[in-house]
């Protein structure tokens, strides 16, 4: 194997640091493994500069707006959830209220219907009763009329029979009955007739 420093130089491997040179010297002296460390102060300074600049630039142009945006979104989401919760509560209350109202209305309606039914029932009964009464009355009236007519007829018949009987009897007895006697007789016979019939 070639000496390490020659291999490195010929391949263009950077080895221009004291550390590497010293390590190379040690390696050459001992014949041991090659150094893996490649410490260079200028690389360190360059990367320090790049890193610090990147931190500053990103903080200004990226992280601040990103973190703010995320927080804005988070608070927005939290607000939305709160609003939704409030709206939900409100809706629930309203719903309960409406349900109550509907229930009340329903109760009222059914009460109305029941009342109406009752009224109708009552009216029906009343009408029926009235009709019954009316019928009864008319019948009674008819009966009374019939009775009166019958009585009239009977009385007329009796009168006539009495008249004829009196006149017959008068003719038989030869004695003229006075008008008063006549009347008295009629009434007596009518009474008897009425009692017997």
């Amino acid at each position: 194997m070639l000496p390490l420093y020659r291999v490195c130089h010929e391949r263009g491997v950077l080895m221009n640091t004291d550390l590497l040179v010293e390590l190379n010297a040690m390696v050459l002296a001992s014949g041991e493994a090659a150094p893996a460390l490649q410490f260079r102060v200028d690389t360190l300074l360059f990367s320090l500069l790049i890193f610090v600049l990147l931190i500053l630039l990103l903080r200004k142009f990226a992280w601040t707006p990103i973190i703010e945006g995320l927080e804005k979104r988070e608070s927005g989401i939290a607000n939305n959830i709160n609003d939704a919760q409030t709206a939900n509560d409100k809706a629930k209350a309203l719903l309960a209220q409406y349900e109550q109202q509907i229930q009340a209305a329903r109760d009222e309606a059914s009460a109305l219907v029941a009342e109406a039914k009752q009224d109708a029932q009552r009216a029906r009964e009343k009408i029926l009763a009235e009709a019954g009464d009316e019928a009864q009355r008319q019948r009674d009236k008819a009966v009374a009329e019939i009775k009166a007519a019958k009585d009239e007829a009977v009385r007329e018949l009796a009168e006539r029979s009495v008249d004829s009987a009196v006149s017959l009897a008068g003719s038989l007895v030869g004695k003229e009955l006075t008008t008063d006697d006549h009347q008295q007789l009629i009434e007596q016979s009518l009474e008897r007739f009425a009692q017997s019939s």
């Binding site: 491997v13 221009n16 490649q38 200028d42 360059f46 990367s47 320090l48 990147l54 142009f61 973190i67």
Partner: protein, 401 residues
Amino acid sequence: MSKIPPERIAKSKVASLLTSLMLLLLMGLIAPVNSVDAAAPVVQESEAKATTKQEKESAKADAGEDHAEGEDHAEGDEHHDDEHSKEMSNFDYFLNQDWLISHVQDSDHFTIPGFYDHEDNFSLFGHDGHKSRKLTIPQISPYTDNEPLYEESEDENVSKFIGRVTFQPTKFIVLMLIAAAFVFFLFVWLANKIKDGNAPQGRLWNALESMIYFVRDDVAKPSIGSHDYKKFLPFLLTTFFFILTMNLMGMFPLFGTPTSNISVTASLALVVFLIVLFTGMKKLGVVGFWKAQAPHVDVDGFLKMPLTIGIWAIEVFGLFIKHMVLAVRLFANMFAGHLVLAVLIAFIGAMWGTHMNWVIVPGVLGSSIAINILELLVAFIQAYVFTFLTALFIGAAVHPH
């Protein structure tokens, strides 16, 4: 640290270990076969993704060669001439730890995946093409291959340091810039969508948002506390998405993984460390912060003082160690995973031209797919672990004990 899923990390480690073990065994098995292969050159071509890597050490000393990156590489198609005796064997070339490590390391160029001959010219069909496989990054100061970039001087402490910091734009720097730009534009786009608080639409938006929520609610809030986390959320989000992007970059051909470099992860950890220090000192005062490192010692008498000081020293030491380990953990995980991939693929190159390749190629393809999937998982886990530990350290600084 309670929230890191340790079994997952353990699993990835175990998987890497097992793979390495199997590879070592395989290497032992095929080593004798390999000595024959150099004598039996075959012209072959295989999967479209394959690239060629051949070595001509002596012939190409000045070329400043290749090293491809980790994922999808290296398969040989050989066009051997009669110069064989001078060359390294395939086996020595591909299963060489320098070569393997160079795939994962930083460099001054990108390597285009494809078919290449052993002189590193593009050659899908024989020697026709002469296009270099390297995309070299333009350098401010000329990059020299053959000399170290630091200068030896009498006053070694000063000049070495100055010489070392050359501000050389390397592959990983370019990749970091790409990653940073990608993350920046992605989240500016997302910010424009989110800022009005609209509902998310589409897969990308939802996916990114769920990750942001994850970092906020499962990483930042529980670790730092719901009062203080807001100040650190931008930093944690940047860390998570930047590291994740860099980790995932290694999954693409031509790119590499910047987080597999210790300098890069060290810079990340350094920022974390500085933020922890400043946060703690702002909250507790400079003296208060350092004093708060020592826990209350429930001992009376003359032992109390030395014990408190001793424990304070250990805690302060631990504070530094914790942040160094933060860098090393990320670096080592990404480095190791991609190195395993490089080793796997190198087997194809090492065995090319022997009869073994009929076994090796399907085996390597299958196992490298499996390891790639594992690497995808590791990329996410390591980004999460880094962010989570960062949040824990900040939380510990804000609320001591």
